[in-house]
């Protein structure tokens, strides 16, 4: 039984929806009724069947539509995909990782056959059947990173590791929460995290860097991050701020349920074998408030988290203008009952 890929848009008429079983598998990020930064990293091992963690690289019903949206972004702005010259080997590493994981996890949709350096890759949802020589850039229509990340959900940052630091030296970034690869390219870990409030004072980045530089082959790790997005728009980039920034002024008590989305990033961290670089897939999941409140526990908890969020964090996440309207709307779904521990919808 394969995935039934939805035909939908993340722009203009915004026809994105989650079907009911995908609402249930949404990676809700709050394990308690409050939120504060923590280095919430855990081993990236497979989770329960039917969850977004069942496969370490998740493919879902939005796959085809997300890849179409990515192609539109790249056609307008090719700088969303960049790879500095020394990162080509890491691109091949990533191609191997994503082809292997997608073919193993979803054999009805993807297949990979390898005969030495001659590889054949079949991607049925996108109608691709390519044979190429692994390691020979001239045998693919794009560089290896661009080729495979045009066929994989989520953004990808490839970080070179040297001098005890990580460097943002390659990436495919079209579904980001207001940051720019073109701006950050070549920066190190502390430079690209400089705008984050509160976390520096807590020494979080120093500890996180130490952990990340020690990630070993075969032992990936993950964490969840979150923000909110008005309209189901994947491309909320600084480059296109003029297109989405004003959306935040359109939230009214009547349209919260359809317009306001919780946006969760499943970030994972993998050591790449040939290049010794790290790849950092950032997979974005969106859920409408109308969909989210079909779980009474999630409705109660999100209400409490948003209501009590420190102002600096609300400002950093860009929620300030519409937070009161959303909190008011959610309060109608919070009867004050206690919530159970853990992330699940009950």
């Amino acid at each position: 039984m394969g995935i039934n890929f939805r035909k939908e848009t993340f722009r203009d008429d915004f026809t994105f929806r989650n079907s009911p079983e995908f609402v249930r598998r949404f990676p809700f990020p709050f394990h308690e009724d409050a939120y504060m930064y923590a280095v919430n990293i855990e081993p990236h091992v497979p989770g329960p069947e039917g969850s977004v963690l069942e496969n370490l690289i998740d493919v879902d019903e939005h796959y085809v539509a997300e890849m179409e949206d990515r192609a539109l972004v790249l056609a307008e702005d090719p700088l969303r995909c960049q790879s500095l010259p020394h990162m080509t080997l890491a691109g091949w590493d990533l191609l191997e990782l994503l082809m292997t994981e997608q073919a193993n996890g979803y054999p009805e949709h993807f297949s990979l056959s390898r005969d030495g350096d001659r590889w054949r890759w079949i991607n049925r949802p996108l109608g691709i059947d390519d044979t190429f020589t692994f390691g020979d850039v001239s045998t693919l229509p794009y560089g290896p990173m661009e080729y495979i990340t045009r066929q994989s959900q989520g953004d990808f940052c490839i970080l070179d590791q040297r001098d005890g630091n990580l460097w943002m030296d390659a990436g495919m970034v079209t579904t980001q929460a207001d940051w720019s690869l073109d701006f950050d390219i070549g920066m190190n870990f502390f430079e690209w995290h400089a705008p984050v409030p509160l976390a520096h004072e807590k020494g979080i980045f120093t500890r996180a860097l130490k952990f990340l530089t020690n990630i070993q082959q075969g032992k990936p790790a993950r964490r969840l991050n979150w923000t909110m997005t008005i309209n189901p728009r994947l491309d909320t980039s600084p480059e296109n701020y003029h297109k989405w920034g004003t959306d935040r002024m359109t939230v009214t008590p009547e349209n919260v349920g359809d317009k306001v989305h919780l946006r969760v990033e499943l970030q994972s961290f993998w050591r790449l074998p040939r290049s010794n670089a790290l790849v950092f897939p950032i997979r974005c999941y969106l859920i409408k408030m109308d969909e989210l409140v079909t779980s009474p526990k999630w409705a109660r908890r999100l209400h409490r988290v948003l209501r009590d969020l420190p102002q600096e964090l609300a400002d950093y996440k860009g929620l300030t203008r519409y937070r009161p309207t959303v909190v008011e709307w959610l309060s109608k779904h919070d009867d004050g009952a206690p919530t159970s521990a853990g992330f699940g919808p009950d």
Binding site: P85, Q216, Q217, P273
Partner: protein, 321 residues
């Protein structure tokens, strides 16, 4: 957060005496599958079960990173060391089943380099065997300078000369051939990165010469696994687990902690990776720091120790383990 690496069950498929002091060991997966791909400069930690004791020694992988059929390491016999190399030389044969770690790379190539200049001394040649294979396959620009005691002890000089011709320069001590380091470092093109692996004295000499010539730190890479030094026995209190332990003369502090049933994270066991860094709660005595991980400031603070290679002399030491 868990650390450490995944383990691999392997079988020794071949043992080759390379010369009087060095043996080469070939490992394949015991279950017959492929081994993980690795990057040039990576090492594995080999577990040795020796009459109830377990030794854990890191060895650089020297096979081509493109070959996932087998891994090879070369071990130089050290008659006065802690016995890991003697175990490998005397006890490990074709067919021996062993456990090794996944590859870990703490001596990675900087792929931005316009040229890779490598300097090896003695058995320090092993990581360069893998790195030169990797670079040659990609058309990379490298040059290897390799000093050995005698031609008979010049491990893999023949293989290297045959593979790479004039890209390899050999220097033999018994012929009074000396690496012309100052001239070599002064004549490199812009964008060259320097890599050093060999005895501690050589690493110091090359680093100091490079620094004096104004090479930026970021372009100078070296790998030096410190072997744990023996020393007078000392007593330690492990405050978290509530153990009192004695560290033997030939034992590392990390081994003694492990023997008490406490499992600190580790990767290299050579004072390089930082995994086993341990907080000192109190002490009365002098630290013998032998690691390359902690800063000078940390060494002076008396608040941290790397138990894989460092020791202590004094009346009391309490660690947060």
């Amino acid at each position: 957060m868990s650390t450490g690496t995944t383990k691999l069950n392997v079988t020794v498929t071949e043992v080759v005496a390379v010369n009087e002091l060095v043996k080469r060991f070939h490992f394949e997966r015991t279950d017959g599958g492929d081994l993980p791909t690795f990057s040039g400069g990576a090492h594995v930690v080999v577990e040795m079960r020796d009459d109830g004791r377990t030794r854990l020694n890191p060895y650089s992988l020297m096979s081509s990173p493109l070959n996932t059929r087998d891994y090879t390491i070369s071990v130089r016999r050290d008659d006065v060391g802690r016995g890991g190399s003697l175990f490998m030389h005397n006890r490990v044969r074709r067919g021996t089943e062993m456990v090794i770690s996944y590859p870990v790379n703490l001596f990675s190539l900087d792929l931005r380099a316009k040229k890779h200049l490598m300097i090896a001394g003695g058995i320090g040649i092993t990581p360069f065997m893998a790195q030169t294979s990797q670079l040659a396959a990609e058309g990379g620009n490298f040059e290897l300078h390799y000093t050995c005691r005698t031609p008979a002890l010049g491990t893999y000089t023949d293989v290297l000369a045959q593979r790479y011709g004039r890209r390899v320069q050999l220097y033999y001590d018994d012929r009074n051939e000396k690496l012309p380091l100052e001239r070599l470092l002064a004549s490199q093109p812009l964008g060259t990165h320097l890599y050093i692996c060999g005895p501690a004295g050589m690493i110091r000499w090359v680093r100091e010469t490079a620094a004096a010539q104004g090479w930026p730190d970021e372009t100078v890479h070296y790998e030096h696994f410190a072997a744990p030094q023996p020393g007078a026995p000392f007593d330690v209190t492990l405050a978290v687990s509530g153990n009192q332990i004695r560290v033997g003369e030939q034992q590392s502090l990390l081994k003694a902690i492990e023997a008490a049933g406490v499992d600190p994270p580790y990767l290299c066991r050579g004072g390089v990776c930082g995994q086993c860094e341990t907080n000192v709660i109190s002490h009365d005595g002098v630290f013998r720091h032998n690691d390359h991980w902690l800063s000078e400031e940390d060494h002076c603070s008396g608040k941290k120790i790397m138990p894989c290679v460092s020791r202590f002399e004094g009346s009391s030491l309490v660690l947060e383990r």
